[in-house]
């Protein structure tokens, strides 16, 4: 923990680097879809509508939120969560309950879109619902985590998996036929869900008071704002006391507890934070698809896990890139590539049906050959490459490995000093 902190002004600019870059990228994409695309030539419009439709871009952002959430649990704290879809489902249904006419018996209106002031049901402002759903999921995360976190790590994976199987089934069976009252709409979805109220921005030209299904570019901005919040929180937490506790647990639970890290509290908070993000993403998903249906499955959990593993566990930027790649391939890329390939070579191969086969193979190959992911966090790379301590000792190779490690650390330190930008995971403790 030697303080090799660069001068203050450089660090300050460094911490502004990602918000600036993020905002710039979001605004460019927004301008492209909102202003440039409708006026462009037909060919460009067709290409974009095929390969990068705005609805798909919005869903990709939601997957990004999910992946950032799972990254807190899997990447930071090293707890394998195979039932993350449970929080997604809870978030989506909380969104549907609080932003629709589902509970028509009551008339609750808190900051909802003014056009719905007379409508029955619960209509609460999107922003409040996002926060509430996050908190609700965090509560569930703690509830499910509290009794199980003292178990061994692989049992934990199974318990979360079971939880991820139970929750969607509860929602699927939540109609009046099974429960006696209509908690959900059973296999049908709860529709419609309110749009996002725009408040003062509705004075601007072209902005509706309520962002409906076709206001995709504006919704994109909203989802990106939620994603930015998740990025901000996870980056800040990562650098703080709690984040360092997570990393310590991930790397060596026993050593961490000996150093005074409260295992249960740290693990529970990682669960809660991950679930919080999942809940927020769930509400965004409900708004994006305009309904809540119980078609959540283990595949969703694995897809999110895939994003985290592919991008690089623990590194938020890697995870974001992983999420964008995987979700785009899933939603548009593979089927478009399949169409193109079939036209080109006159074949008739059903490419989208292979996507989970491809995911499975990629997961296995990644674990075998590049365990740290595409954009690894420097720490993870070391950990994932390092054999277990006892194995090293039997091989008599610990000295060699330690030397190697030293070299890498030295390299990083010099790199850090030269570049001086904010990179996650390098200078923890430097300015805490």
């Amino acid at each position: 923990m030697t303080a090799t902190s660069p001068p203050v002004n450089r660090r300050r600019l460094g911490s502004l680097a990602w918000p600036l870059g993020f905002t710039l990228a979001v605004i460019l994409i927004f301008i492209f879809y909102r202003y440039w695309l409708p006026d462009s030539v037909d060919q460009v419009q067709k290409f974009v509508a095929d390969w990068f439709p705005p609805a798909v871009i919005n869903q990709c952002v939601i997957w990004v939120i999910m992946a950032i959430g799972l990254n807190v649990v899997v990447g930071y704290a090293g707890l394998l969560d195979l039932g993350y879809v449970a929080f997604w489902a809870i978030g989506t249904y909380v969104g549907a309950w609080l932003m629709s006419g589902w509970f028509f018996q009551v008339h609750w209106h808190i900051g909802g879109p003014p056009t719905l002031n007379k409508a029955p049901g619960i209509h609460i402002s999107f922003w409040l619902v996002v926060i509430f759903a996050g908190a609700f999921c965090a509560l569930w995360g703690v509830l499910i985590g509290a009794p199980t976190l003292r178990l061994r790590s692989d049992y934990l994976a199974i318990v979360t998996l079971g939880f991820g199987e139970i929750i969607p089934q509860v929602f699927a069976n939540g109609d009046s036929e099974h429960l006696g009252f209509a908690l959900t709409n059973g296999q049908q979805s709860i529709v419609p869900i309110d749009g996002i109220g725009t408040g003062v921005f509705s004075q601007l030209k072209g902005v509706n008071p309520q962002l409906g299904v076709f206001d995709l570019p504006y919704r994109f901005l909203v989802f990106c704002l939620v994603a930015a919040f998740c990025v901000f929180v996870s980056l800040r937490l990562r650098r703080g006391r709690l984040g360092r506790a997570w990393l310590a647990i991930r790397e060596d639970e026993l050593a961490a507890s000996m150093m005074g890290v409260s295992l249960v509290r740290a693990k529970l908070s990682s669960y809660a934070v991950g679930a919080f993000f999942g809940g927020m993403g769930g509400v965004c998903y409900a708004v994006a698809v305009g309904g809540a249906s119980p078609n959540f499955s283990f595949n969703n959990s694995i897809t999110i896990l895939m994003m985290v593993v592919l991008g690089g566990m623990g590194n938020v930027w890697g995870v974001i890139i992983g999420a964008l790649i995987v979700s785009w391939v899933n939603l548009a890329g593979l089927s478009q590539f399949g169409d193109w390939y079939n036209n080109q070579f006159n074949t008739n191969i059903d490419f989208p049906s292979y996507n989970f086969l491809i995911f499975g193979i990629i997961l296995v190959l990644m674990m075998l050959f590049r365990r740290e992911g595409l954009l690894p966090e420097s720490r993870t790379r070391l950990i994932m490459r390092e054999p277990a301590r006892t194995e090293l000792e039997t091989l008599g190779a610990d000295i060699e490995a330690a030397e190697e490690e030293d070299e890498v650390i030295l390299e990083e330190e010099t790199e850090d000093e030269l570049v001086g930008t904010e990179t996650t995971g390098r200078s923890d403790g430097g300015n805490a």
Binding site: V74, G78, L80, L82, P147, T148, L151, R152, S153, D154, Y155, A157, I158, V159, L161, G162, F163, E165, I166, Q169, V170, A172, N173, H178, L254, S257, M258, G260, V261, S262, L263, F298, I302, L305, V309, S353, Y354, F356, L357, F359, G360, I361, I362, L363, V364, M367, L368, R371, I383, M384, P387, A388, T390, E391, T394
Partner: protein, 349 residues
């Protein structure tokens, strides 16, 4: 976590209290279930008995698959997520082998011999796939952090499932049964002959497996490797081969379960394996993971519980089947993670 002697002394009674509360809650749950079962039996005895027989049959299948989980977990502490899907591949292979390749769809002496051949082939098939997975994937990850082999197993599960999808098609397929659906009827309850076959095969396989693990040299090597890999290596045991052999045994059990499943349930479905595997894993945990007899008892129990839930007049019904099984799993892991027959172990350091 800083435990001086003073705080340890203070904490002791509190720990005992939580244990007592946990035990009370656990016993209350068990008593509630027993009361519910008795109530159902008094209400509709015939229906309950036939449901229980179905449960016994499914339970035996769960038991065989659970043996695979328990063997692999016992030796390298890996939850082999792909095991259920291996079972699924086995069912597709067995059905195709018996009906399409051997051309058997009637009953008689010839078909019974063919069925025996199918047993052998399916066991070899599943054993070689499991050994292959171990050789190509898990072996390289033996020294990696625990997360890596787990994620690999999940990935392999997806690969298997998609192979099954391409092989079997996306719709379930029906197959004729060699053993058939006949049986003897006692008081309106039909006991199928296939049930005797299933239970018999399970018992024989459990006996053989126990013999191998307890009495043979290879079994001794397995137990040694499970205890301490480095120690076993120093004693001249070929650890790689022993682990490979364990995977083969587990795979063979899944293969046998696959043939029985085709014979008694009669359908193959590409997405059958995942659920089945999870339930079988629950069975393995219920019996005490690493314990062979425990896995079989756990499998039978889970089969009975699931059947009771699905078929009893006052059950929750099939729609809640998964919820019930996974709730059992979660409660079990919370209250009694060591299972019925297992011994409480602390995490290895």
């Amino acid at each position: 976590m800083t435990s001086t002697t003073a705080t340890a002394g203070l904490l002791k009674p509190r720990v005992r209290l939580t244990e007592a509360v946990e035990r009370a809650v656990g016993i209350a749950i068990v008593l509630g279930v027993v009361a519910w079962i008795i109530y159902n039996f008094v209400d509709e005895p015939t229906q309950c008995f036939s449901v229980m027989l179905t449960g016994l049959n499914n339970g035996a299948l769960y038991a065989l698959v659970a043996l695979g989980y328990t063997l692999v977990y016992g030796i390298i502490e890996l939850i082999n997520f792909a095991h259920g899907d291996l079972f699924m591949l086995g069912t597709i292979f067995a059905a195709n082998f018996l009906v399409n390749w051997l051309g058997v769809d009637t009953r008689g002496l010839g078909p019974v011999l063919a069925l025996a051949l199918t047993f052998v082939m399916a066991m070899i098939f599943c054993a070689s796939i499991n050994m292959g997975a171990e050789f190509f994937a898990y072996r390289r990850l033996r020294r990696a952090p625990k997360l890596a082999p787990l994620i690999t197993a999940v990935g392999l599960s997806f690969v298997f499932q998609n192979i099954g999808l391409k092989w079997n098609g996306s719709a379930p397929k029906q197959w004729p049964s060699v053993i058939g659906n006949n049986g003897i009827t006692i008081d309106g309850v039909l006991i199928r002959y296939s049930l005797f076959v299933t239970l018999g095969v399970t018992a024989v396989l459990l006996f053989i497996l126990t013999y191998i693990v307890q009495r043979t040299k290879q079994g001794k090597a397995m137990r040694a490797t499970a205890q301490d890999q480095d120690g076993a290596r120093l004693m001249g045991i070929n650890v790689d081969r022993t682990i490979s052999f364990t995977f083969a045994l587990g795979g063979a059990m899944a293969g046998a379960a696959a043939v029985l499943s085709v014979e008694t349930l009669g359908t193959t479905r590409y997405d059958q394996g995942f659920q089945f595997g999870l339930i079988a894993f629950t069975a393995a945990v219920l019996g005490g993971i690493g314990n062979l007899v425990g896995a079989v008892v756990g499998g039978l129990l889970i089969g009975l519980v699931q059947a009771a839930n699905d078929g009893f007049p006052h059950g929750f019904g099939q729609d809640w089947s998964q919820t019930v099984v996974f709730t059992i799993l979660i409660l079990l892991l919370v209250f009694k993670p060591e299972g019925i027959f297992g011994t409480r172990t602390t995490e290895k350091v």
